[in-house]
Symmetry: C2
Subunit: 252 residues, 2 copies
DNA sequence: CGAAATTTTGAGTTCACTCAAGGATGGTGG
DNA sequence: CCACCATCCTTGAGTGAACTCAAAATTTCG
């Protein structure tokens, strides 16, 4: 259940038994969702914090003339709206792309964890640092890579992240995006996404059947997308890090 | 000196006198820089934490074929490499765009503040949340806006942020970017940046002389760039926020 | 003052877009 | 179980925004 989060946070900070229990008990309830729903809207303060258990969501922004930009994908283990609770207002919306479930963590619960469990607070902070790192890579992706590279890069990222949380079967995984949604994620038109996917398939790098993808040639795909997984911090042990001791944080 | 940081962090959390003194004493020394230097490189762990006092730096990533993408601008009051200290490794490089100075905060000092001053830790966290919010807007900017809009948007952002830290004189401020650098920031070619700037000038929205810009028509420029300052959280008071009480965070 | 960097201009090219229509797919209800 | 509808994917042709290359004009700086 919340095992996902615990496992993930442990990447950053090894947690005590007590802390693990606190985390495990943090979930008030779970919430099932279908594709096309919105969890929070830009400008609102989220009522609670949502943790993805299953399925895929996205952070997105609506721009002029009906344009949309997806600015992040939220997979199992990701927190949807902690930033909104931190700042009192969401700078973006969160919507669902597939069916799935989220765990709901009441804000008092979160507040309590932050106050009483320094290592949890630290781990949550780091979780958000990784989120920011991914967003920076997206800027580079949309800003300076060709259409072909962008799509390859996106495939690599989703694949590696799903593998990391155990939501892939070997090199195959559910592809959570329609081509229109992929277009909104990498800043291309739907038609062009279609053509780039066809090219990747014809080159034998990937294989798609229905909503399932299989990466046939990981090195080839990573080369095609200039992908290096470093920015995902998937293997960040808690060792050898500078700011690596208990600390506190608070509000007035 | 570090007044900049104090003022900024106070946006988020009102600090006690003790905390302000701690912050004021956090700076070990200052470091002057010239354009074209690098503070930290991707992959490294920063030795210390740098706070911009004056001048402009950028976060950037180098991609294949000599391409470069600037993923953030660092202005007075911004922290350059806290994320690197948090994660033990930088996911990007930090370079200077102008001459200026940074304050150097030793990591033990930072560590001590995080351990002993919850509100400072919280404020630093929020500082990074705002950084992430800006990066998301950059994804939207490069992904879904026209060249004309991107340049207008960048001008608005830099102007508003410089105004917020008192580094603008009314509607005029130092423009810290060459056209090649602006191109790397918004994902365009140098030549096209030049043409878009000319267009903005000919439309009477801005005025440039040397490295100084004046915004002649704020509403017009914001309209041109689909700009809304919300994502900058410039006026985020500490009131009415959910996670707004002391908390702690730590490492194993 | 001269060298280097930056900005500007022009012309031709290309990558990705738009528009439009035809297939495929999948879910729903009869 | 099949028919239907909606959504999604695919294809083609023409267009356009932004790119590249190259060179001239300007500014900056030692």
């Amino acid at each position: 259940m919340t095992q996902l989060l615990i496992r993930k946070l442990q990447h950053f900070a090894s947690l005590s038994e007590t802390e693990k229990q606190v985390l495990a008990g943090a979930t008030a309830r779970t919430l099932a969702f279908r594709p096309g729903e919105d969890l929070v809207h830009e400008g609102e303060e989220p009522a609670e914090c949502h943790l993805v258990l299953d399925g895929v969501l996205c952070r997105y922004k609506l721009l002029g003339e009906g344009k949309r930009q997806i600015v992040a994908l939220l997979l199992a283990g990701d927190l949807c709206d902690l930033c909104g609770l931190m700042m009192g207002r969401m700078d973006h919306s969160v919507g669902t792309l597939s069916a799935g479930t989220v765990a709901v963590i009441p804000r008092q619960m979160l507040q309590g964890m932050l106050e009483r469990h320094p290592r949890i607070a630290r781990a949550l902070w780091q979780e958000m640092v990784v989120d920011a790192s991914i967003t920076r890579e997206w800027v580079a992706n949309t800003g300076r890579r060709s259409a072909y590279q962008r799509i390859a890069h996106l495939l690599c990222e989703v694949g590696r992240r799903l593998q990391a949380v155990g939501h892939a079967s070997g090199d195959a995984f559910e592809w959570p995006l329609t081509q229109a949604e992929a277009a909104d994620a990498v800043g291309l038109s739907t038609v062009h996404v279609n053509r780039m996917l066809q090219q990747l398939r014809s080159e034998g790098l990937i294989e798609m059947q229905g909503s399932a993808v299989r990466i046939l040639d990981w090195p080839g795909l990573e080369r095609a997308g200039e992908f290096s997984a470093d920015y995902l911090f998937l293997n960040a042990g808690s060792r050898n890090r500078t700011l690596d001791r208990p600390f506190h944080a608070s509000m007035p």
